[in-house]
């Protein structure tokens, strides 16, 4: 039983949801069937004074069952399913007697839709409880009446952000927004208040089922509202570039529904939901951000037989950009930090930057002032290496130079306990080669944080040749403790993220060198779904740094008797950095100019250095070149065992460098296209532009065998 039916002496029926074998209630097939049965029973009750919808779990209803949504691929079946669910909710809200949602905790997505079908909503005021519609973050819309009801409750303008932004609210914000009607201080009060609301109401109808109902703020036939709708349409196009269909489908459903009666609006909503849930984008996003993300965070890439590892004190070498960020997230997660730089003053300045980040958090109301102090006190700034002796994990974040890194490794490691882990935050240098400087290479590992550390959710863990499973487990558990998502990769030049990301900027520079309009190149990158164009992101990363890394790589390879292949970007960087002295954003001049009084603009000098070719490529052509380079490199990484799971590759690409979330990541991009079509296109690109587009044999074989990446 997922739903308990209790009728009391006063004629009030309490329906208590308690899904079996699940920690939370989900809107799944079982609950839907039982809810329908319960409503049949309610309809046949003779002395019914009211209904309370309650939950036996800690949450009210966490949402819909994602596995059920993921399976929906047939439009006829999907439409019938969602219409069925909604018919049940409609019967509940038209019972005639008062129906109250007693929300003892989180009500998200389908759970909140269930509550909106009640006449009154009371929420238990507890800090963990969240309310809202996260559907849009999975490429969906609230199709269980959420769009239709919230629009009628709040009006078009007020409902819009709740439906399209995917943000969730705490109980008091939900009350303020008008999503919840009252708060209850404890569980007992929650039920009492629910009864108290029912008693004076002998009958109850939703506002939209009452005569003379008017949409708050007016409908889209009102000129001022129409103007707002037009602006909202443009804002959605601006943010989605038509890559994400859900926000536009939501706005469209709101507007179309506002012009007709409730039942027609509800059916329009079902059609839009069906279109989204059976479409590619929702499938990509559900797969990546639900199933693959869960798989990663639950430890698929963590050694199974190593027990959970604790870290007590983390030493951080270097208090600069990366060092202070790592110190901040570590201290925030409750771990003590020793922040060491060359001098005490430099270390203190890093700690000062942490203090400023904490202040920002306090200003946003995400940290109390007391906690701010506690967190800051966990960080000890020092210029003395001896202060690191108690650390069970040390992360070096010093300059990206072999000699420097080797020196700090040797200097620090001797002070540490036998089982302490030494991690390098390098983004490019092979871990095994850095581990050569260590006396205990088995305790040596790569922890590649991304900048800015406090915002970037990904950490790339790099396993060197001699790294032990225990070392890996310790690093993995530490990253999880920070609340970040770890992907585990094997040692290779550039690891996974830098290696694949580099192909994006290289292809962008190749296009520039060929004489493509630089703004069109940038637009193609953005349209392909990357957060920044290839030239802009190169400026952010720093052109000087890119040249430095390549020189280091060239030296490394030369030492192995190998030669580094010359890329188009080498030529472009040579001109920009060595000839023009334009190093990137930090120096105020790269591919872009960065005027102090205005937005950045592409440097006009590019027009002379890279004159426009007579043949200007289409956006589609450039988008394919920019994305295929990345996808092909990612397949090579899978082939070489640099990444060992599709989930790590997809999530690493989205969280690491922002690869098209609507495609579900760099490997899902290939599934989305279809393997045979992808291979055919890659071969055509190879013919036109060269071997960098040659599809690996493994991929050709998969395509021929009709396989996809799972």
């Amino acid at each position: 039983m997922a739903l308990h039916y209790d009728k009391d002496a006063e004629g009030i029926v309490t329906l208590t949801m308690d899904t079996e074998d699940r920690p939370v209630n989900l809107i799944d097939e079982a609950l839907q069937v039982e809810l329908e049965q319960a409503i049949e029973k309610l309809e046949s009750e003779t002395s019914l004074s009211g209904v309370i919808l309650a939950s036996a779990k800690d949450t009210f209803v966490a949402g819909a069952d994602m596995a059920m949504l993921e399976k929906m691929s047939n439009p006829t079946a999907a439409f019938a399913a969602v219409e069925g669910t909604k018919a049940t909710l409609r019967r509940l809200e038209t019972l005639g007697c008062p129906v109250v949602a007693a929300m003892n905790g989180t009500a998200l997505g389908g759970g909140l839709e269930l509550a909106l079908a009640c006449h009154h909503r009371i929420a238990l005021d507890r800090p963990q409880a969240r309310f809202g519609f996260p559907e849009v973050t999975f490429g969906l819309l609230p199709g269980g009446g959420g769009v239709t009801r919230l629009t009628r409750m709040l009006g078009l303008q007020a409902a819009f952000p709740h439906l399209t932004e995917g943000r969730t609210l705490d109980a008091s914000s939900a009350l303020e927004a008008g999503i919840v009607d009252e708060l209850a201080p404890d569980k007992e009060a929650l039920m009492t208040q629910a009864r108290d609301w029912i008693k004076p109401h002998h009958e109850s109808r939703q506002p939209w089922d009452q005569k003379g109902f008017r949409l708050p703020g007016g409908g889209p036939d009102k000129p001022a509202v129409a103007q707002m709708v037009s602006m909202a349409t443009a804002m959605i196009l601006k943010s989605t570039r038509r890559n994400y269909p859900a926000p536009m489908a939501i706005l469209s459903t709101m507007v179309d529904g506002a012009l007709v009666d409730f039942d027609t609006a509800s059916r329009i909503e079902s059609r839009a939901f069906t279109e989204l849930v059976t479409g590619k984008v929702a499938k990509n996003m559900i797969r990546a951000f639900w199933f693959q993300m869960n798989e990663i965070n639950k430890g698929r890439s963590r050694p199974k037989d190593v027990p959970p590892q604790q870290v007590h004190t983390v030493g951080i070498l270097g208090a600069g950009l990366m060092g202070h960020g790592i110190a901040y997230v570590t201290a925030l997660s409750g771990i003590d930090v020793v922040l060491k730089d060359v001098t005490q003053a430099q270390a203190e300045s890093g700690k000062e930057r942490v203090a400023r980040l904490l202040e920002g958090r306090v200003r946003k109301g995400r940290l109390t002032e007391d906690d701010q102090q506690t967190v800051l006190e966990r960080i000890r700034a020092t210029g003395d290496v001896a202060d690191l002796s108690d650390c069970d994990l040390v992360i070096e974040a010093v300059f990206e130079d072999r000699e420097v890194k080797a020196a700090v490794t040797r200097e620090t490691e001797t002070l540490l306990a036998e089982d302490a882990v030494f991690a390098s935050n390098t983004s490019t240098l092979p871990i095994t080669s850095l581990a050569a400087a260590a006396a205990r290479p088995e305790n040596f590992i790569g922890l590649h944080f991304f900048s800015p550390v406090h915002r970037m959710k990904l950490v790339e863990i790099i396993v060197g040749e001699q790294t032990t499973p225990t070392t890996l487990a310790k690093a993995f558990d530490f990253v999880r403790r920070l609340g970040k998502t770890p992907i585990v990769v094997n040692d290779s030049r550039g690891f996974f993220t830098s290696r694949v990301f580099t192909t994006y900027v290289d292809e962008g520079m190749a296009l520039l060198k060929e004489g493509q309009n630089p703004r069109a190149i940038e637009s193609a990158g953005l349209q392909a779904g990357l957060p920044l164009g290839p030239l802009a992101v190169s400026d952010e990363v720093n052109l000087g740094l890119a040249v430095h890394v390549r020189e280091q790589t060239r030296k490394d390879l030369a030492a192995e008797g190998r030669e580094m292949p010359r890329l188009a970007s080498d030529d472009v960087l040579e001109i920009l950095v060595n000839q023009e002295g334009r190093l990137g954003k930090a120096q105020g001049a790269g591919f872009y100019d960065y005027p102090e009084d205005g937005p950045k603009a592409l440097w006009p000098g590019l027009a002379e250095l890279f004159p426009l070719s007579e043949t200007q490529l289409s956006q589609t052509e450039m988008m394919d070149r920019l994305t295929f380079r990345q996808a092909l490199e990612a397949v090579r990484c899978l082939d070489e065992g640099v990444v060992t799971s599709v989930a790590d590759a997809n999530i690493g690409s989205v969280l690491g460098w922002g690869f098209a979330p609507f495609k579900g990541g760099v490997i899902q991009f290939i599934n989305d296209r279809g393997l045979p079509a992808f291979v055919a296109r890659a071969e055509a690109l190879e013919k036109a532009y060269g071997a960098q587009f040659r599809p690996p044999e493994s991929l050709v074989r998969m395509a021929e065998a009709g396989e996809t990446f799972g």
Binding site: P220, D221, P223, A226, Q227, V229, S230, M231, A232, T233, A234, M235, I236, L237, K238, R241, R242, M248, A249, L251, S252, V255, D256, N517, R519, A520, E522, S523, A524, Q527, P599, A601, L602, Q616, Q619
Partner: protein, 403 residues
């Protein structure tokens, strides 16, 4: 064409500021039309039972100007009950479209005498109040890539490299030309004062013109579309124009068309009907053309439509004496000139245009036809080309020749 269609007369109201403080705000659009219809009947001594149709453009046909205002106006002006009427909407070109439809009906022999024209009281029925999916339905607007016209105009200027100063200069010319034409009485043949039921004049001349306009004053105006552009419409345009890094917002209230109230009529008929009624033909329709263009930039139609009309007529740009191009925005006219290969404005909008005079949406096309014909006669020239840009990315052109 099987037979020629002739213009026998043109007339219009003066244009009043399209706001509450505009002189024509108190006058209902039906009164603007009725006044013109009565005057047309009077001055051509017209047996209205001979009129086969009344075709009127109106872009926002609701409320005061809704419900087929053409038939309503014919009845209200006490024309013969046999005169039917139809209201049409091809956005900003509706007045010229009405004239072209009248010409086509006459040329084909379906009709012998048609009154065409248009009306728009923008102060009473504001632009956009009729809604419509192109701008206001998210799914449709999203797919088509709808942006307000001013963003399209700014995009034209950005792509063509028109600087703010070029546009302001063009606007200044428009003001000076319109002001001088009005003061010299060159509009008088067509302009019919609007009077109240007592015969007291409400508005006798165009009132939107600002004769004292200076470059400095124009330069001081704020870009009109920068804010909405920034909020999202620029990005929508850039989805179609990925090579544009930033849209230059160079159009202002000073170098864009004015919002005004007004109406206009054109009497179109066959040679035989004119003779029978004792009317003297002033000009004949040589050709007309319509085009559809990319809808986001929206306003690039006049050039291609003109080229199409010229081709149809077997004429070249050099065969045209005067060009009358609707000044929806300064960049529209400059782009037209570039498209057809005109280097100076010597023959273009010689008496100013909508920047100085205003653009009463449904009526403008018919007004332009009358204005340029009056000027051909005044200068004793022969041929003119009239063109307008149109919402939704369309363009229209008409070529006339004096007889």
């Amino acid at each position: 064409m099987p037979m020629d269609a002739y213009i026998y007369d043109t007339l219009r109201t003066p244009r009043g500021r399209g706001k509450k403080d505009g002189s024509l705000h108190e006058v209902k659009p039906i009164e603007l039309l009725a006044g013109l219809l009565r005057e047309l009947g009077r001055r051509t001594d017209l047996d209205t039972s001979q009129v086969d149709d009344l075709i009127l453009g109106c872009v926002t046909p609701l409320g005061d100007q809704g419900g087929n205002i053409a038939r309503t106006a014919a009845l209200y002006a006490e024309w013969d009950v046999s005169v039917p009427g139809v209201q049409i909407n091809r956005f900003c070109s509706s007045g010229l479209e009405a004239a072209n439809m009248a010409a086509a009906k006459v040329a084909s022999g379906w009709d012998d005498l048609v009154v065409a024209g248009g009306v728009e009281s923008m102060s009473r029925v504001p632009m956009g109040t009729d809604g419509g999916p192109m701008a206001y339905d998210p799914r449709v607007a999203g797919q088509v890539g709808f942006v307000p016209q001013g963003i399209g105009a700014d995009l034209i200027a950005t792509l063509e490299g028109f600087a703010r100063e070029d546009l302001d200069h063009f606007a200044l010319d428009s003001q000076q030309r319109a002001s001088s034409a009005r003061d010299s009485g060159w509009f008088n043949r067509s302009v019919i004062p609007v009077c109240d039921p007592n015969g007291l004049p409400i508005l006798e001349q165009d009132e939107y013109i600002r004769p004292g306009t200076t470059m400095e004053a124009l330069a001081g105006l704020k870009p009109a579309f920068a804010t909405v552009g920034e909020m999202g419409y620029d990005a929508v345009a850039q989805l179609k124009y990925p090579q544009v890094e930033r849209i230059q917002h160079v159009h202002t209230a000073g170098n864009s068309s004015g919002i005004v109230d007004g109406a206009a009529l054109v009497l179109v008929g066959s040679e035989a009907k004119g003779k029978a009624l004792g009317l003297k033909p002033r000009a004949r329709f040589v050709s007309g053309a319509l085009v559809g263009m990319e809808p986001t930039i929206m306003l690039t139609g006049p050039g291609p439509a003109s080229i199409k009309a010229l081709k149809k007529a077997g004429m070249a740009v050099g065969d045209i004496d005067l060009f009358e191009i609707n000044e929806a925005f300064a960049a529209v006219v400059l782009r037209f000139m570039r498209d057809v290969g005109l280097e100076s404005t010597d023959q273009v909008n010689v008496n100013g245009g909508a920047i100085a005079l205003g653009h009463p949406l449904g009526a403008t096309g018919a007004m332009l036809l009358g204005t340029v014909l009056d000027e051909l006669e005044r200068r004793d020239l022969n041929t003119a080309l009239i063109a307008l840009c149109i919402g939704g990315g369309m363009g229209i052109a008409t070529i006339i020749e004096r007889v």
